[in-house]
Each structure stands twice: as C-alpha cells, then as structure tokens.
Amino acid sequence: MVFEKVVEILRNYKDEPELEVTMESSFEGLELDSLDTVELVMEIEEAFDTSIEMDGSLKTIGDVVGLIEKAIA
C-alpha cells in the first residue's frame, strides 16, 4: 500500500503517469537529483503524515518505502 502511494506521488511529481517504478528504481535512474529527492521525500512524508531520516543513505524507492513503513507501523 505504501509502495503504490509512493509511486502515485512520484508519477505526479514527474508528471509522467505511465512511469515504470519498482522498489529497486534509484533516484539517479529516475533522473532525480538531490534537490528533487528532498522535495519528493517531503511530499511523501506529508502524504503519510510522518517523517523519515534524510541523511544521504536514501538511494532507491525501496529505501523510502521501507522507512515510511517503519515510521507508520
């Protein structure tokens, strides 16, 4: 459920409704730089009404999904 929501936010953020995303998709591979990552992660945090650590270890969509799942568990 978290993954699906994250994908929806990501597709909306990039304005690409058909964007292929997996848990393994990296921010770099999705052409998101560090500033995009900050924006996107904050949007995701706000959607789940929680916050996660953004310390540079976030590399993939799976990393974000994992931390959000942990935060809202």
Binding site: E39, M54, G56
Partner: protein, 315 residues
C-alpha cells in the same frame, strides 16, 4: 540605522553576514567582520578538526562578539568538525554542499544556531522543519559552488514557504543589493566577494587586484559537466578548464585532477595560470580595497539611501 529581527536573533548590530569562502574566510577576517557589527564566518572548507579548532580559538582571541563557522558537508573530516563546533561552543554554524540533516539535532541540542545555505525552497522547508534558526537563500550569481536559481526568483519563493528568517546571498555587492534583498522578503544578507578585498583578508594581493579590475562579464562557470558548477573569474585557468570540459574525450577524473588545489593556488600564490579565482558576479561593482569596518559602514549607509529613495515611486 538598519535593524531587522535577525540582529536580535544572532546578537549582531547589522544584518550582514560574511560568507564562508574556502581559503579566504579565516579567523582574522571573521573577527574583523564581527567586530564591525556583522557576523563573521570562518570557512572550514576541507580542513581537519585540528586546524579548525585553532582557527576558532584564534577568532575568540580577536573578538568577543558572536561569529560563525561554515561547514562544507562534503568535507571528509565532517564528523570530527561537527564535534569541534560543539566543544568550542561556536554560536552559529552555516552549512553548504549538501543536506545538514544528519547533524542538525546534535548542533541544536548543543545550543548552536544552524543556518543552512539553500539553493531551493524545498531544502529551505526541510531545514526549517529540522530546526534551523534561519536559512541563507543563495542564488547562482555568487562565487564558488553555485545552484541553478538566481537570487531574484529564489529569495521570494523561499520566503513564501518558511516562517524562519531568510538571509539573501548571491549578487549582493552594495546597499542597493541589500535594499533589494529586503524587498524580496529577506531580513539579512550574506556577502562574500565584497569582503574578499578587505585589508583584513589574507589572500594574495593579485586576487584582490583581479576582483577590483573585473567587470560584470568577467566571471564564468566551470565544472558544469561534473555536476558541481563553480563561479570564478575568467582567468587562463578557467578558460583552459572550460576548453577541457567541452572536449568529449576528457575524462571526469582528469577534470577533477585539473581543479584540485586550484583555489588554494589562487588565494595563496595569486597565480592566474593555475589558480581558480572564485568570485561572484558583483566583482564589477567593487572598485577599491578598504577595511572591513569601512565596507560595513558604507553598506549600511547605501542601504539606508536605497530604501529611503524607493518611496519616491509611490505616487
């Protein structure tokens, strides 16, 4: 007199910060700026914790006023640097080249005021949430490592999304620039290049002379292809670097090697063949060397004139 909420917040007389410039902003310059009523900032660049500790102690011996340290988050010694700031009870920390999230709580718990330099409204919002005292919205007109946005669009967009004070930086060289920054919603400014030519600044005289000689069109961006653009004067070094950068056969490693140590060479040796003379676009506004105190007094006076003069257009 120019006074904004930033003055009380940082316990300074004027809302003017001196930017942390690697190989340029040392204890002597920082102390001079703080003594003149602004906030002086030591650049910890890529230095180790021992160098920084001595520099902080030197600054304390030269001023009883608050001062800051700029932390370059990509510094390999950054973990130890972070601790030195706490041990030495540095009043203000500004951060650049990354997201300071990892250290925010540590510094804030130690009573340090943290002011990240941000190139986007998203990072500003994130910094506020993490407990930042203020943010420095720095546009790409500045010298050194720059972001994509220019100051004019960046500052109001940052002001719109945070409720902490916003300090404008990039492209500010005189009181007109400071007044403009206030109009955009900032309550403070950070200037780098303007202070580079101060008598108290320990850089090679060639560097100061080049800034004074520079015109509006004399800066350029190097390192775009490496993902970290650097604004500097169009010297032989910069032209050679850009030539190599535009040559598709040049490896990134070769470029990185080309640029290594180039700022130190500029600052200490003044060598325009091998040195990278970082400078903001306002270099063309600077026509003379002066003491830090004279620079700050002039900036404040010019700001008063510009702000007062602005009302003439209200009919």
């Amino acid at each position: 007199m120019i006074k904004t909420p930033l003055c009380d917040l940082l316990d300074i007389e004027f809302p003017i910060l001196q930017g942390g410039m690697a190989w340029i902003s040392d204890a002597q310059l920082a102390a001079a700026v703080s003594n003149a009523g602004g906030l002086g900032i030591i650049s910890s660049m890529n230095a180790d914790e021992n160098w920084l500790r001595l520099e902080i102690q030197k600054c304390k011996s030269l001023t009883s006023k608050p001062f800051g340290v700029n932390v370059m988050l990509m510094n390999p010694h950054v973990d130890k640097i972070a601790q030195v700031l706490i041990d030495e009870k540095v009043p203000v920390v500004t951060t650049g080249a990354g997201n300071p999230g990892k250290f925010m709580k540590l510094w804030i718990d130690a009573g340090i005021k943290v002011i990240p330099v941000v190139p986007s409204s998203g990072l500003a919002r994130y910094s506020e949430r993490a407990g930042a005292t203020a943010v420095i919205a720095e546009g790409g007109e500045s010298g050194g490592h720059v972001g994509e946005l220019a100051t004019m669009p960046l500052v109001p967009q940052v002001c719109d999304v945070v409720s902490i004070p916003v300090i404008a930086a990039g492209g500010i060289g005189d009181g007109r620039g400071i007044a403009a920054a206030f109009m955009l919603g900032a309550v403070g400014v950070q200037l780098g290049t303007r202070f580079l030519v101060a008598h108290e600044t320990n850089v090679h005289e060639n560097y100061k002379d080049k800034i004074i000689k520079a015109k509006d069109i004399d800066t350029t961006l190097t390192g775009r292809s490496l993902g970290h653009p650097v604004r500097c004067l169009k010297t032989t070094f910069a032209k050679d670097f850009i030539k190599a950068e535009n040559d598709p056969s040049t490896l990134n490693e070769t470029l990185e090697e080309f640029g290594r140590g180039a700022l130190r060479i500029a600052a200490q040796e003044g060598d325009s063949q091998k040195g990278c003379f970082m400078s903001g676009q306002i270099a063309g506004l600077i026509h003379e060397k002066a003491s830090v105190n004279e620079i700050i007094i002039k900036l404040v006076k010019e700001t008063e004139i510009a702000l007062t003069g602005g009302t003439q257009w209200i009919k």
